[in-house]
């Protein structure tokens, strides 16, 4: 059983990495926010799984904090993005800024 | 006011279940204080923005959740097919404005969230009695237009009023 848990933990890490790549390449602010949001929810799962893997179920408290913070963070980011980027501004940035 | 009564129950349950120390008088009294503090803020918010008697979706909720869960599973399979076999199942993104029959804000919110929760459709805008839906597939928006979900949410809402 531990093997399955371990595999699942690693797999969630892989998902997180993929989301991270999406956050790096963009394009555009909203794609990044989406990727960050997904990264956050997967972090929650990662912590929960890792807690079970190491038999430390009090990690779940942290996972719960993450869900809260992630939600509030996304709302906050959206609020600011909306206020700062004017409607006529293109949301996708020029490609030179998206290298990496 | 009924909302606050329910909230008290909810908060107390939340505290007891989170804490797990049911025989420690010190922590229990802290629990009481904390719940009261939260209730105070909830009451201030409630005074300003009341739920229109829209208190307990509770009795019908489990059934609705079960139905919703089934919908979510079906919709997930749909989207999965598009992810893994893009050639055989092409995308057909669609935007359409649908009517909603809910009367209260809470009902409308529930409906919009149920739409978003099922992958394949996302509620994009709620204006008056209409919701703008963005769907990954034309078919899923068509399904939504048939209005089964709408009916179910409205039925939930009727219990409130």
């Amino acid at each position: 059983m531990n093997l399955v848990l371990f595999a699942a933990t690693v797999a969630v890490l892989v998902i997180m990495a993929l989301a991270l790549v999406r956050a790096f390449v963009g394009p555009g602010v909203y794609d990044r926010i989406l990727a960050v949001n997904m990264f956050g929810t997967k972090t929650v799962l990662f912590i929960a799984l890792y807690g079970f893997l190491t038999d430390r179920p009090e990690f779940l408290d942290i996972a719960l904090v993450y869900t809260l913070i992630n939600f509030i963070g996304v709302i906050a980011v959206l609020n600011f993005v909306k206020d700062t980027i004017e409607k006529d501004q293109p949301t996708a940035e020029p490609s030179t800024e998206e290298e990496l | 006011m009924l909302y606050l009564v329910f909230l008290t129950f909810g908060l107390a349950t939340f505290w007891l279940l989170m804490s797990g120390f049911w025989d420690n008088p010190l922590l229990l009294s802290f629990g009481v204080i904390s719940v009261l503090l939260c209730l105070f803020f909830a009451w201030k918010i409630e005074k300003k923005y009341p739920f229109h008697k829209a208190i307990s979706l509770l009795p019908g909720l489990p059934l609705f959740w079960m139905w919703l869960f089934k919908e979510v599973v079906v919709a997930n399979i749909d989207v999965l097919k598009r992810i893994w076999l893009p050639e055989e199942f092409p995308l057909s993104p669609t935007i359409r404005t649908l009517p909603m029959s809910q009367k209260t804000r809470l009902g409308k919110t529930t409906y919009a969230n149920a739409i978003t929760l099922t992958p394949g459709t996302i509620s994009m805008d709620v204006k008056g009695n209409e919701v703008t839906v963005y769907g990954l597939l034309k078919e899923s928006v068509d399904d939504l237009e048939k209005g089964e979900m709408d009916k179910r949410v409205s039925k939930l809402e009727k219990r409130i009023l």
Binding site: I15, A35 | T132, Y134
Partner: protein, 110 residues
């Protein structure tokens, strides 16, 4: 009995991970932001439910289960709200979605 529970739990975990990976791949395969939202939706809903469900079976009937269920409830309550806010903000700031040809008119008329 325990073997059975472990078995179901393992299946749920694997299923959840599969869904998560599909979602992540969808994040790359889908052509634009709006379609990608749906891919992320897959991971937020059923993937979380499956993994948490698998863990619940592992934990048995304890307070840990309750906390797991709180996490699941909170995710299912907050993720549609966040998704709605996200797509709405994107739409209002003028990011154009890819649409089917014949649905262009629908959008204009609405």
């Amino acid at each position: 009995m325990e073997i059975l529970i472990n078995f179901i739990s393992a299946i749920l975990l694997v299923l959840g991970v599969f869904l998560g990976i599909s979602g992540a791949i969808g994040l790359f395969r889908f052509p634009d932001f709006y379609t990608r939202m749906h891919a992320a939706g897959v991971t937020d809903t059923l993937c979380t439910a499956c993994i948490i469900g698998g863990l619940v079976l592992q934990a048995g009937f304890t307070l840990i289960t309750v906390k797991l269920i709180f996490i699941l409830l909170f995710t299912w309550y907050s993720s549609p709200a966040a998704g709605h806010a996200l797509i709405k903000a994107a739409h209002k700031t003028g990011l154009r979605p890819l649409l089917r040809k014949d649905s262009e008119q629908e959008e204009k008329s609405s």
